[in-house]
């Protein structure tokens, strides 16, 4: 512990910078880094190296090789570069490797060297070639900026949603700028470039010259520029060995430094941490590394070998052939605790805890000291915070132990910050492990979020670790374990050397019914890899049949899709499949498919009834469904046809169909209707008036009402109208005409098959009591009482009822007796009743 601050280097009065080793690299690099194109992704991301990038020979042995390593130097992929010459490499925010070729094509590779896609930076580039390119990150994603041979800039702020923007020309620019960078202000990407002593800012509209405030005189050229991780600050390195540091808006100078080295630096990057007031840049030359800030002196390191700087949110990573280091400003909490002779509460607490372990009473003294100042809470917090910034687990542990010790003496210290830090550190230590190789700091981890970290683990195919982390942090299944398993399954289906059965089984065994896992997504991936059979097998595990349908359709398994859609009970889905099938199959096959699926068939029929009547007919034809075909033509005879001939013809077709369906009743009825139609037409021609579309009954009635009794009789005979019906018909019609004479004649034509009560009723309906009475006398004995009551002859009705000795009739008459007039009758009935009871 004595030498804990040994690697702390003061910069000015207020800040310390430290550099510590993350990994020792054993990636066995044969080349020097300077001979390679290098790209390292931020947030402890992977490193890509393109060896021999500048060789143009075609020979395979000297073709460029693209290698991808983890931050710890574990090889992830290696491939021979077979495309054109590469100008620049860079990683996107999704950890995809973008390789910008000289011809303006950008090839996108995955972390494992799998080719993803490519896009072009525009036609202009093809001719002028790409001189230089930068990949940069903004809040919208990753962008590409290129400088063409014609000294023009083109950029795309988001490669995920490619929109190329050609920047305006820099007036009088004859040669390439000495240095340039992309800035991002107000959500728009700009380009800052240096030409000789001048600086120009390009936005999408104009090119403007800018002058950094307070720039020392005598500058004839800018050699290097660096913009900070968050685009807030800018540093300029001039040919006089002078460094200007200010805001990226070029409105304010923060500080300046003269390093007196005129050689152009290899790299210059910002090294600052969020929420710190200190600003510093790290400048690297071949053998020298310098940290400069707002201080008269700089910190200097010697570089033993060729190194490469990777700017991070809170520091700089430096890797070379043998080591990978991290350089950052010592965080406030750590500084407080570990600064030599610090009396900060955290420092005292750490001491107290150490003494306590030694069973020394000094522990009590220290503790008392903190408590007297009332700073115990602060002390605990400091220890927790400092633990987060420590790289070595031993150090983390001792700080956490101190925090835990201090917590014992506090009444109500909320435990979550302590617990969360323990969890976070455990996760961080796990991913920092050499085999995983993601050297995230605590601040980076918090910025990245656990979800993105999990995504990155999944991207590296580190499924077990990702799942362990989810389980350890108790993330909800849908966000955590299920999601990872689904990713795993999507990877699994790409293993071409494993049989479909084995893959499907393996996936099902792992995934089971885990909530939130969509088997259809996995199946879609399998289909994407050309494994249709596997996809179908996987779909079998999908519990929601509705989810299976779209993919099955895509795979042209339409019939299977149809039965799945039907299973789902979702008629819309069925309908979607139906339309698909309709386009895909020829008509005959389509109908055959429908035939086996009654639910789909009736759905389609419903649709056809409204939209495609002809198809409906074809459907019935196909099925030899003569009954429905008959009905179809009947409907057509009413709806489609206007002319009588057409209607009759349609009915004839219907009748034929009904015969085929062995529905003689319907066939006969249809034929009758045809006859009736023809006849009505003739009647209209001969007699005038409206006959068409009347029922037979109404036709006859109309004839009688029109006085065409003969014709009516004829029609009744022709169509064999039953006697009873004809009598009712005539009775009603004649009464309507109030042709009482004819009615009487009719009633006497023969014995009425419907009796004479209807005559009475109908006369009374027309309020003709006189006529009614005529028929009342002829009503048969069973209905006599009713008839007499109808005509209002209560007394006689009573007599008949008494004669019949019918109790029901008696009460019926009684109910018709009104007090005043029928008193005598009522008495009579009562007497008769009494008599009947006596017997």
């Amino acid at each position: 512990m004595d030498c804990y601050t040994a690697n702390w280097n003061p910069l000015g009065d207020s800040a310390f910078y430290r550099k510590y080793e993350l990994y020792s690299m054993d990636w066995d690099l044969k080349e020097e880094l300077r001979d390679c194109l290098v790209a390292a992704a931020p947030y402890g991301g992977p490193i890509a190296l393109l060896r021999n990038p500048w060789r143009k020979e075609k020979a395979a042995s000297v073709r460029p090789v693209l290698d991808i390593y983890s931050a710890s130097g574990v090889p992830l992929a290696s491939l021979l570069w077979k495309s054109g010459p590469v100008v620049s490499l860079g990683w996107s925010a999704e950890e995809e490797l973008l390789c910008v070729q000289e011809d303006g094509a950008v090839l996108v590779y995955g972390l494992h060297g799998d080719f993803r896609r490519h896009f072009s930076m525009g036609n202009e580039v093809l001719q002028n070639r790409v001189l230089d390119a930068r990949i940069f990150h903004t809040e919208f994603g990753s962008g590409v900026a290129i400088l063409t041979g014609a000294h023009r800039f083109t950029l795309s702020a988001n490669v995920g949603d490619l929109k190329l923007r050609r920047m305006p020309e820099v007036p009088g620019l004859q040669s390439a700028p000495s240095c340039w960078t992309t800035l991002c202000q107000d959500r728009v990407a700009h380009i800052l470039l240096a030409v000789g002593p001048d600086l120009y800012l390009l936005d999408h509209a104009a090119c403007s010259a800018v002058i950094p405030p307070g720039l020392a005189p005598g500058v004839s050229s800018f050699l290097q520029m660096a913009v900070s991780f968050t685009y807030r600050h800018l540093a300029l390195f001039t040919d006089t060995g002078y460094i200007w540091m200010g805001t990226a808006s070029l409105k304010e100078k923060l500080c300046e430094f003269n390093c007196n080295i005129r050689a152009p630096p290899k790299q210059m990057v910002w090294c600052s941490r969020p929420r710190s007031k200190e600003r510093a840049v790290v400048v690297a030359w071949e053998r020298r590394l310098m940290v400069v800030g707002d201080a008269p002196e700089s910190i200097q390191f010697v570089l033993d070998e060729d190194s490469y700087l990777v700017p991070e949110l809170d520091g700089v990573r430096i890797f070379s052939r043998s080591t990978h280091e991290f350089l950052h400003e010592v965080p406030a909490a750590s500084e407080e605790i570990f600064k030599i002779a610090s009396m900060a509460p955290g420092a005292l607490l750490l001491e107290a805890q150490k003494e306590y372990e030694k069973e020394s009473q000094k522990a009590d003294e220290y503790l008392r000291e903190i408590q007297e100042l009332g700073q115990l809470t602060q002390a605990v917090q400091q220890c927790i915070e400092a633990a987060g910034h420590e790289h070595q687990p031993e150090m983390q542990k001792s700080l956490l132990r101190a925090a835990s010790f201090g917590k014992c003496f506090l009444d109500r210290f909320p435990p979550d910050s302590f617990v969360r830090m323990c969890q976070d550190l455990r996760v961080l230590n796990a991913v920092r492990d050499y085999h995983i190789g993601i050297p995230l700091t605590y601040s980076q981890y918090k910025q990245l979020t656990i979800q993105v970290l999990l995504d990155r683990l999944v991207l590296r195919r580190l499924y077990p670790l990702a799942i362990q982390i989810c389980e350890y942090l108790r993330l909800p299944e849908v966000q955590g374990v299920s999601r990872i398993l689904a990713h795993w399954a999507c990877y699994k289906v790409q293993q071409k050397d494993v049989s479909d059965e084995d893959v499907a089984r393996a996936i099902n065994q792992k995934l089971g019914d885990t909530p939130g896992v969509s088997y259809s997504d996995i199946a879609a991936r399998a289909y994407g890899c050309g494994r249709t059979e596997l996809a179908i097998k996987l779909l079998e595990y999908e519990p929601r049949s509705g989810e299976q349908v779209p993919l099955l359709l895509k795979m042209k398994r339409s019939k299977l899709a149809l039965s799945k859609a039907i299973e789902s009970g979702d008629t819309d889905l069925v309908f979607t499949v139906l339309l698909h099938l309709k386009n895909e199959l020829n008509r005959g096959d389509f109908f055959m498919t429908l035939r086996n699926q009654p639910m789909a068939l009736s759905l389609y029929r419903q649709f056809c009834k409204h939209q495609e009547l002809e198809t409906l007919k074809d459907l019935y034809n196909q099925d030899d469904n003569h009954q429905e075909l008959g009905s179809f033509h009947i409907r057509a005879s009413y709806a489609a046809e206007e002319r009588i001939e057409g209607r009759v013809a349609a009915l004839q077709t219907a009748a034929d169909a009904f015969y085929k369906a062995k529905n003689e009743f319907a066939a006969k009825a249809t034929e009758d209707q045809m006859r009736l139609l023809r006849l009505q037409r003739r009647l209209e021609d001969e007699l005038g008036g409206q006959f068409l579309d009347l029922s037979l009954h109404d036709t006859v009635t109309t004839l009688i009402l029109g006085g065409h009794n003969k014709r009516a009789e004829q029609l009744a005979r022709d169509f064999r109208i039953p006697d009873k019906r004809l009598w009712w018909l005539k009775l009603t019609a004649l009464a309507d005409l109030e042709d009482w004479e004819e009615l009487e004649k009719f009633s006497k034509s023969k014995k009425s098959p419907i009796g004479y009560l209807p005559f009475v009723e109908i006369c009374m309906k027309q309020h003709n009591k006189y006529e009614a009475k005529k028929y009342a006398s002829r009503v048969g004995p069973e209905q006599k009482v009713k008839a007499l009551l109808l005509v209002g002859d209560v007394a006689q009705a009573a007599d008949v009822a008494i004669e019949h000795r019918n109790e029901a009739e008696l009460s019926l008459v009684l109910s018709h007796c009104t007090g005043a007039t029928d008193g005598a009758t009522a008495d009579k009935i009562q007497r008769a009743r009494a008599q009947a009871q006596k017997k």
């Binding site: 009970g569 819309d572 009654p598 009736s602 009954h697 009712w728 018909l729």
Partner: protein
Amino acid sequence: MAFPHRPDAPELPDFSMLKRLARDQLIYLLEQLPGKKDLFIEADLMSPLDRIANVSILKQHEVDKLYKVENKPALSSSEQLCFLVRPRIKNMRYIANLVNADKLAGRTRKYKVIFSPQKFYACEMVLEEEGIYGDVSCDEWAFSLLPLDVDLLSMELPEFFRDYFLEGDQRWINTVAQALHLLSTLYGSFPNCYGIGRCAKMSYELWRKLEEEEDGETKGRRPEIGHIFLLDRDMDFVTALCSQVVYEGLVDDTFRIKCGSVDFGPEVTSSDKSLKVLLNAEDKVFNEIRNEHFSNVFGFLSQKARNLQAQYDRRRGMDIKQMKNFVSQELKGLKQEHRLLSLHIGACESIMKKKTKQDFQELIKTEHALLEGFSIRESTSYIEEHIDRQVSPIESLRLMCLLSITENTDKAAGKITDAFSSLAKRSNFRAISKKLNLIPRVDGEYDLKVPRDMAYVFSGAYVPLSCRIIEQVLERRSWQGLDEVVRLLNCSEFAFTDMIKDDKASSESLRLILVVFLGGCTFSEISALRFLGREKGYRFIFLTTAVTNSARLMEAMSEVKA
């Protein structure tokens, strides 16, 4: 009279929440089209809409003019048109014509189609075929449950019956499942489920699937309703085909209750105006007579009138203070009651007039004979005469259907009623009737004033089959022992019981039963089950695709010329 509920009868859940939900959603949808707009409403949706959001609410959300969707061009001058329609192809054509006419005239407006209760792919396809899919925006108003009364929820989907049972179109099943899902979300899951019929089974399974997909949110809820019973209309056509003689059913048969309200014409109101009257439990007079056999209603009403008079008369002996009290507190109520009383008396008179004219007694007698299977010959000749006299084709058809099902004959009746016989398959009505004792043995007069079983809704002649099935299953808490009945109903595959183990159900909730009628139910059935509930201390809640009666059933099956 008007039997009170048993003191231990459970409280009904509050279904007004469904109205609020529907209203809020509609308002949200209207607000999606900001600014003034004209609203085109499909005729069938007008009454339900009126129960959810009246004109002033619509106006508040910038609906300017209201139009009915009908077969003639609308003369709206608004820049924004909103259509509120059922997902039907003919509506799509109407909209397409309107939009295409605008296009021809070089006019651009905003169009929004709100489908209720959901949109169908076929509709969108028609819009696409007509070339206007890109011109309109489509939305769904998931309004599928309208509380018509405290214990009656209607989906207001009369076409469900024809679409499913006649055309075999299963599109509405999803809607049913969604509605059930909504209920279980709001009122807790149903611990006991029973069902019979193919449609019931499919709806149930689809509903279960929906529940499974949902996260465990609702599972913790305490169930408010202990049982759910799903029943296909084609289990029992007989009951629905009978003439109704319970007051509410009779009012429906005579005046047609539409969406819980009825238009009483001048003959009822004894003025020159028609009056739209809401018929539900809030109408105190109606509430007391709705479930009564018609023969009791008149007596009850006159008794009520006398009581009312007596209450009015009380004021004679009053001093000023009492009078003031009377006027401020009681008079309004009495007047209201008076108004309702005179309306229902008017309705009764009107019913009496109509029913005696057509020889109602004869008709009822024939129906009972058909139900009991007696004197078939007389019944047949009655039907014949009915046709000969050309009373009403729908009525004649109804009687023939009744004959066909009860007699299971495949003779002339069956052939004429082709549509119907294809539905009824093989009817075993007689056997079922015997097995379930649907025709009560009567010793002496059946006292309709003090009913002893559910048969009272048909003058003591017949216990509604549907209600008897429900009674039997609830008694057994399963279909056990009813195998023979299920077989006779041709439903062996589709009868199910599902007990979800749930100890949280309170004894009170276990006496609440939701009965779902797929394809419609009649007021007689509702009355019968209300009676059963009172006898057994249950309370029934009814969910139906629509309230139906014999006439609606027959009309649904006849082809209407488009």
